[in-house]
Structures are given as structure tokens and as C-alpha cells.
Symmetry: C2
Subunit: 336 residues, 2 copies
DNA sequence: GTGAAAGCGCTAACAC
DNA sequence: GTGTTAGCGCTTTCAC
């Protein structure tokens, strides 16, 4: 533990510089010296103090990840994709949860920046308040936006085609005879959610379905709020015949509400959710979803960030990954 | 960014030492100097370089977490509990996945130690190979074991009453008329799984049910392996009438296998899973589980670790949290 | 109360 | 090829 290059140097009978070179594998060291140093290091169980190395190198080989909640399978999968990519480059991930709260997000970013992360991947809670991100980039710390665009801030961003995916879902519902379609979403402060609502409207227009704005239930980013939103729609006399839910929390909440109200899927209420989930095929009936390549989202974010860290300048890039509709029956499709 | 205490000191017209004291809130500084320093820092947007501070303090205020896979809801929930507790103390979590591979776990631990984490929480992949953990503790870096005990290594450990919980599940199945009960588990290298198998045997004994060892399907730690294990049991002529699955991956895999084989739950095959999951109430029928307080597992691990970091010596502690059987119908219970 | 100076463990000029 | 030396940005004696 308390072992330093100096100790190794002494044990190997060379200067600290030589030991450092042998250990670091840079500069030139005689074969003999190198062997002695390496042997001493091995014998004494030396491991480089990365924080000291970071101080001089000006790089911590650590990248920060700020998500709403790592317990959310979406973020967990993205985190996994990210860690896989960056660890392959010797980077490690510092994790922070924002609980979708802008203030907590600020604190998280500050904490990570204080620890001098080489870069940051953030799924920002509020697409409008982004001065902390701008300040970070201005300070020379690369930031990649995950899943959620930010208005008025050109930054590397990795997301899915939210609008197209949502529109697709609505058309799918319309194709199966639905004219009265409700939507359950979390706050529109979340960039991707705002896009999905736009997609909802667009899809309706394309399918020539009238959009009843009162059928768009907007709530918080929790399952309870999803439940509440869906419930409010379902208890109306003129309730919709189909629901489009903007993410898994909303989907889950809506399914609870549907069960609570006692409606049969898909005959009394159809449903299509944004984002696939592991159990979608095991609930009854299986749930039709717009699936997104979540792991890849994290991977691409990692790649983009690594490029920036490696000094790649150039215009910010926006990567849009494609979503895919997976038809399982909950929209009233014929399934075998 | 390139701002240092020296810069602030200069801007405030004081020495670096005074600026550092004012900024760090220690030592004694005149009210006047303090104000000037703080004002300068604010104005120039100074933020302490924590890596430099870490180097001198010998503490990074960072703790390492090594799990099998953050995408696994169990680990995600534990991670969340852990971050909540340690962030409240100003610590941040460095995350690494081992994929339940001993070698990758070693590398992860090495990488985290190199970054001089103040402590480590690890859900170790192999309960028998623990020299890397022992070495870590010996080097003075506190380690808390999460979820999985390690044989022959006395360390702070937070886990659930695996054996009791598993026994309870089996008795529950026996209480509902099952005499031929199979078990699907991942590798016994995983400490908690080994305990659950012991609990399986114990529960059977208590319920005076004969244990057919060939009915214990042991596989890898993936859903596919869970599927495979369950399938192998279900396609037997003398197949069990009930299944106990050792964790969520196994439960999920088993449910797929059950569907594949075309058996009805609970009439043709009953099932009880270890560890609750969000969708358990929405699959049909709802799944009976032995639930564990996963978030608390992470929290307690955090508390234990923080205590050690704060210099609390004393004997290693083992915390066992209680599991709870939640009856939902998949074991053939009468449900309203 | 304040400043000068040493040092955390490492890397990297710069001489030899 | 190797050693000496000067920092990286911070904290912390030790004088004054």
C-alpha cells in the first residue's frame, strides 16, 4: 500500500526515474534494469498510485455518468453499454443519480467535475436548464448527452428517433381501428418525452386521427404518476380505446391502472409502450412496444466521448438510433 | 478549469496558505481575508481540484462497487441503495462489472484500488477464490461483501437469510401438496446460491419431502441457462410438479421454459422464485416469491463501509436481512 | 492571523 | 541508458 516508485527504485538499486520508466514502459531502460525493477515491484506488490499519476497527467481516466436513477432498467442498460466501451480503453465510470431533479443533477455534475473526470455522459433532467452543461463544455470537459436533447445547446448527443417511433406507434394503433388514442407521458422537461409527444401528434395527423389534447396525460417520472395519468384517462366517460405510453414507468403504471379499472387488453383497451422490457412477452397479453437499442445508446455515447477525450474536435454530432415496433398483440393485432 | 488556489490567492491579495484555509474552511482566517478569498473564488469560478486534495489527504472520497452486471435489477437496486447512503457523506461510487467472472473481478478490484478508492463493496463471483479481497483488506482498504459470503474470510458482509428463505419457499410448496420439487440455480460458486440450495434441502427435510438430487439443475448465471435448466427438468417423464428458482434470471428462464413446454401454472407446474421483481404481479398468474430488501442491502453495505472508512476497527460484522414470502398464486395458493 | 516552504507520489525535462 | 530536478495543485507544519 504505502509503496512508492521510490521504494521500488531503492529495492532495485536504480534511480526513481529509471524505476518509473521501467514501470511505466516509456523512455528507455536497459533490459537488465527493467528486469530488476519489475521483479522488485512484483515481489513487493507495488501498484501505481493512479491519483498521483492523474495529478501530473491532468487526466483521471475516469468518466462521469449522470442518470435519473440507475434502478431504471433503461439507465442500467445504457450504463452497461457505456462501461463496456470505456473500460476497454482503461477508463472507469463514476456514477451519480439525479432522480430527474435539476438541482441534484447540478450537484452531481459539480461533484464529478471536482473529481476531474475526463468527460461526462449525462441524461439531463431538464432540457431547458443547461448552463451547468454549457459551463462544463466551456471549461474543456467533454459532455455527451444521453437519450435527451437539450434545446439551444449544441452538444454531442446520442438518442433514438423518438418522434418517428412514437408516430409509428400511433399509426399502428390507428391501423388497428383506434380513433380515440390517449397518451401517458412524464414531464415534457425531459427532451425525449417532449419528442415522443410530438411524434404522437404527428402520427395521429398522418393516420388522420383527431388529437384530443385532453387525452395527453402528463405527469412525473415515476410509476405512480404513470398509474395516475392512465387512471385519469380510463375513468373518463369518453375514455380512449387505446393508450400510448411514453416509457416503461408509464407502461407499467398504465397496466396497473388498466387492471384496476378492470378493462381487457386489447378488446376494451389497447396499449403500445415506448421501450421494450424483459417481461413484455410474459404478461398477458404480451405487450406491443416500440423498442430501442438501449445498450447501444450507452455504447455510442461512450464512443463519442472517448473521441472527444482523445482530442477529436469538430462539430458536435447527433446520433439517432432507430427504434423498431414489435407487435405482440396488445394493440389488437392478430397473433398466432 | 486551470484555476488554482494560487490564482485565487493572488486575486484576493493574500498568500496561498490563507486562500487555502479560507476555501477549505479550516485553520483561522480573518473575516476580511475570508470574504475577499471567497469572493474571488466565486467570481473566477474556482472549484477545488479534488485529485490534488486526494493526493495529500490520502483519501479520494470515492468508493468502488463491483457487481456481476449493473443491468441485473438486483444489482441495480443494491447500487442505488449504496449510492444514496455514501453520497450523503460526500462519497462517490466508482462502478465496475465482473460478469460473474473471477478474473474480470480481480481486474476490476485492481483498477479500483489503483484509483485509491477509500473502500470497496463487492458481490464476489466466486466464494472460494478470495485472495484478491484478502490482499485488499490486508493493505488497509476496507471491503464489504454484498449479498455473498466468502468461505474462510472474515469480512463485513451484508446478505439475506438465504437458507431460511429458500427453506420457506420449499415448505410453502410442500404445504400446497407438492412432493416432487425441482430447483433451478446458477453456479454454486456464488455464495448466496449455495446457501439457497442448502435451504432447499433443509426445507424439504423439514416438510418431509424427499430430495431427488437430480432435480437440482445447476447452470450459469444467465437467463438462458435458467431456461435450459428448467427445460431439462420439465421435459423429464418424471418431471417435478413444482419449481423453486434461485434468483430472477432463473425465474425468468423457467417461465419461458414453462411456456415453451406448454404447462399451466400452477395446476401443471407450480413455481416460487427467490427475489421479487417488478412485473411479478402482472404476469399471469402472478408469481409467488421470496422477496428480499435489495435496496437496504446496498444501504447497509454502505453504512458498514463508511464506518470502517471512518476508522471503526473491531470484528467483522455479518448482517443478515430478513426475506419474506409473498404469496400470489403461482404455488397453487387460493387467491381472492 | 498570515506567509514561506515542504511534501503527497508521480511524470518529464534536462543534463550527463 | 540513467540520474537530478522540477513541478502537478493541494494541505499543513512552522515561524513570525
Amino acid at each position: 500500500m504505502g509503496m512508492t516508485v521510490g521504494d521500488i527504485a531503492q529495492a532495485a538499486g536504480v534511480s526513481q526515474a529509471t524505476a518509473a520508466r521501467a514501470l511505466g514502459g516509456y523512455g528507455s531502460v536497459s533490459e537488465d534494469a527493467r528486469r530488476r525493477v519489475l521483479a522488485a515491484a512484483e515481489r513487493l506488490g507495488y501498484h501505481r498510485n493512479e491519483v498521483a499519476a492523474s495529478l501530473v497527467a491532468g487526466s483521471t481516466r475516469t468518466i462521469g455518468l449522470v442518470v435519473g436513477d440507475i434502478e431504471n432498467p433503461f439507465f442500467a442498460a445504457a450504463a452497461r453499454g457505456l462501461t463496456d466501451v470505456v473500460e476497454a480503453e482503461g477508463q472507469t465510470v463514476l456514477l451519480a443519480n439525479s432522480d430527474e431533479d435539476s438541482e441534484r443533477e447540478r450537484e452531481a455534475v459539480a461533484a464529478l467535475r471536482g473529481r476531474r473526470v475526463d468527460g461526462l455522459v449525462v441524461a439531463t433532467a431538464a432540457s431547458s436548464e443547461a448552463d451547468h452543461l454549457r459551463a462544463t463544455v466551456d471549461a474543456g470537459v467533454p459532455v455527451v448527452l444521453l437519450d435527451r436533447p437539450v434545446s439551444g445547446l449544441k452538444l454531442d448527443t446520442v438518442m433514438v428517433d423518438n418522434e418517428a417511433g412514437a408516430a409509428r406507434a400511433v399509426r399502428h394503433l390507428a391501423d388497428h381501428g383506434h380513433r380515440r388514442i390517449g397518451m401517458v407521458t412524464d414531464t415534457l422537461d425531459i427532451g425525449s418525452s417532449a419528442e415522443r409527444v410530438r411524434g404522437f401528434r404527428r402520427g395521429a395527423r398522418q393516420a388522420e386521427v383527431e388529437v384530443d389534447e385532453s387525452l395527453i396525460a402528463v405527469g412525473g417520472a415515476t410509476q405512480e404518476e404513470g398509474y395516475r395519468g392512465a387512471f385519469s384517462l380510463l375513468e373518463r366517460r369518453d375514455r380512449p380505446t387505446a393508450l400510448f405510453t411514453a416509457n416503461n414507468f408509464m407502461t407499467y403504471g398504465a397496466l396497473l391502472a388498466i387492471r384496476e379499472v378492470g378493462l381487457a387488453i386489447p378488446d376494451e383497451i389497447a396499449i403500445v409502450g415506448f421501450d421494450d422490457f424483459v417481461w413484455a412477452t410474459l404478461v398477458n397479453p404480451p405487450i406491443t412496444v416500440v423498442s430501442q437499442p438501449v445498450g447501444r445508446l450507452g455504447q455510442e455515447a461512450g464512443r463519442l466521448l472517448l473521441e472527444r477525450i482523445h482530442g477529436n474536435g469538430g462539430e458536435p454530432r447527433r446520433i439517432r438510433l432507430r427504434t423498431k415496433l414489435i407487435s405482440r398483440g396488445s394493440a389488437g393485432e392478430e397473433t398466432s
